[in-house]
């Protein structure tokens, strides 16, 4: 890492991780969203050596890394032990969430499984932006639980005003809707930091893996 860059986590190429981890992260794999559109999963990840690192790494004034990586027993077994991996876009998500936090003026609580979760997590659906580390599920803002239409729509409107282009899941009780949290995401954003390992142009992930 150069002197001009002091971000403390190493960037790793997911295709060069050990097989069990690679199989769970599926770096660079193509998945499909709810409408059948192909989306390519992130390939580069920050490596988190320990929970202590995640606790101590403040991404913004009000959000530390650990808040984005809380996953439960339904996460793939290979991803429940450290070192753990999070797509590099988490450093784009955190400032966005900070901006939302500044707009609401109080604590914003990310739910367990509601930050980054891998595509292999038991509750991950088709091309969930959570697998890109560009989405959060917020179950509580200050003392307000976001579990009814009024609260969810009110804070969704604040998010859209504060974050141009952000997507908020509509309120409702059916598939693709939300009734017990606010989901907001930046879409399928992939971040490749400058210090990322080489990514041979035009080489598909499957080919790169064979190199």
């Amino acid at each position: 890492m150069g002197d001009s860059h002091h971000f403390p986590l190493e960037v790793v190429d997911g295709l060069r991780l050990e097989k069990a981890v690679r199989d769970a992260l599926r770096p660079g794999a193509v998945v499909h969203d709810d409408d059948g559109r192909a989306r390519r999963l992130p390939r580069f990840f920050y490596e988190i050596p320990s929970w202590d690192h995640a606790m101590r790494l403040q991404l913004t004034p009000d959000f530390a890394l650990w808040e984005f990586i809380q996953t439960d027993v339904r996460e793939a077994e290979a991803l429940r032990a450290f070192p753990r991996y999070v797509p590099c876009a988490v450093t784009l998500l955190a400032p966005s969430l900070q901006r939302f936090r500044d707009a609401v003026g109080t604590f914003v609580h990310i739910a367990a499984n509601g930050g980054y979760r891998s595509p292999s997590h038991g509750v991950s659906g088709n091309a969930s932006p959570h697998a890109w580390a560009t989405a959060v599920n917020i179950y509580r803002v200050g003392d307000t639980y976001l579990d009814d239409r009024e609260a969810i729509e009110r804070y969704a409107a604040i998010a859209r005003a504060a974050l141009p282009g952000v997507w908020t899941r509509p309120f409702g009780w059916g598939r693709g809707l939300t009734d017990d949290h606010l989901h907001l995401d930046l879409g399928y954003v992939v971040s490749i930091p400058r210090e990322a390992p080489a990514d041979p142009a035009g080489v598909e992930p499957e080919v790169a893996l064979a190199c």
Partner: protein
């Protein structure tokens, strides 16, 4: 099922007389208490003595179904799918057994507030199991059943040939209740289930002991333990809705092997004296099994 202990040869006549006296008392209690129905089953691990009174009759399970879910959770632990300290996201959103429509466990209908205060966070499987048993948390129950799956709970019952426990859904599923899709138990079924745990034959001795420890933590003690001597320990699970009140557990008298008992009662919604009835029946069984001229000491 574990091997039943053969009763001693001199056992039958004396114990049969005591059983007939108990049966007569239960008939009287059933008449006098106002209960619509009683079901009682007992299995004495000290002698192999078994007593049954309407023990094959099906009752709405109420919270006694949590025993089957406990067995399912420990089946998942036994198979390595879970660890007791594995963490689970606490989310109050479940799918009805009728049509998959979402529903929630209303906090004001739940005996336990602790799990509701953890919404959005994670709790350990062992803590959720403790809340499910000791304070009968409905939210913990549905979270655990969602995690391990109905199939796992049903297969665990089948593994031990427990026919008298019929689990079909989680709790607080009003749509399913309105359609008559309910969990059911018989007194014999609950005794069979608890017998497996009491014999420390449920998956392993260690896991059986962990389940017994949870059952010993029961905080609702107005049923089976209420009229027993203070030195008697009881590992049990209660269950109550508007029309039923049950208690089923393993009773550990001092210096004696335990016995397993299930007392199931059905009432009109305005019926009273439920816990007292269960406590009285529990007391009668205790007296019968531990009286000076009884067996198994």
């Amino acid at each position: 099922m574990p091997q039943l202990i053969e009763p001693p040869a001199a056992f039958d006549s004396t114990q049969s007389e005591a059983a007939e006296r108990l049966r007569a008392r239960l008939q009287q209690i059933e008449r006098d208490s106002g209960a619509r129905a009683l079901g009682v089953a007992v299995y004495d691990t000290a002698t192999g003595f078994s007593f049954r009174y309407n023990a094959e009759r099906w009752f709405h399970a109420a919270s006694t179904i949590k025993l089957a879910i406990l067995l399912g959770v420990y089946s998942a632990i036994h198979r390595g799918w879970l660890l007791p300290h594995s963490r689970l996201h606490v989310r109050n959103r479940f799918m009805s057994a009728v049509n998959g429509a979402p529903f929630r466990v209303a906090p004001d209908r739940d005996a336990n507030a602790a799990v509701h205060t953890a919404l959005g966070k994670m709790l350990r499987i062992s803590d959720l199991a403790r809340h499910m048993i000791a304070t009968s948390s409905n939210l913990a129950t549905n979270l655990l059943l969602d995690l391990v799956g109905l199939d796992t709970a049903q297969q665990s019952l089948a593994e031990f040939s427990i026919d008298g426990v019929d689990i079909r859904r989680g709790v607080e599923d009003e749509r399913a209740f309105e359609r008559g899709i309910n969990n059911r138990v018989t007194a014999a079924g609950l005794v069979d289930l608890l017998h497996v745990i009491a014999d420390r034959a449920a998956f392993s001795r260690e896991l059986s002991d962990q389940m017994l420890e949870l059952l010993h933590g029961q905080e609702f003690r107005s049923g089976i333990p209420a009229r027993l001597p203070a030195a008697v320990r009881v590992a049990h699970k209660t269950g109550e809705i508007s029309t039923v009140a049950h208690d089923a557990g393993v009773v550990y008298p001092p210096d004696r092997k335990p016995y397993v008992i299930a007392v199931l009662t059905e009432w009109s919604p305005e019926g009273s004296g439920r816990s007292a009835t269960i406590a009285e029946i529990s007391h009668l069984v205790f007296e019968m099994l531990t009286s000076a001229d009884g067996h198994g000491r």
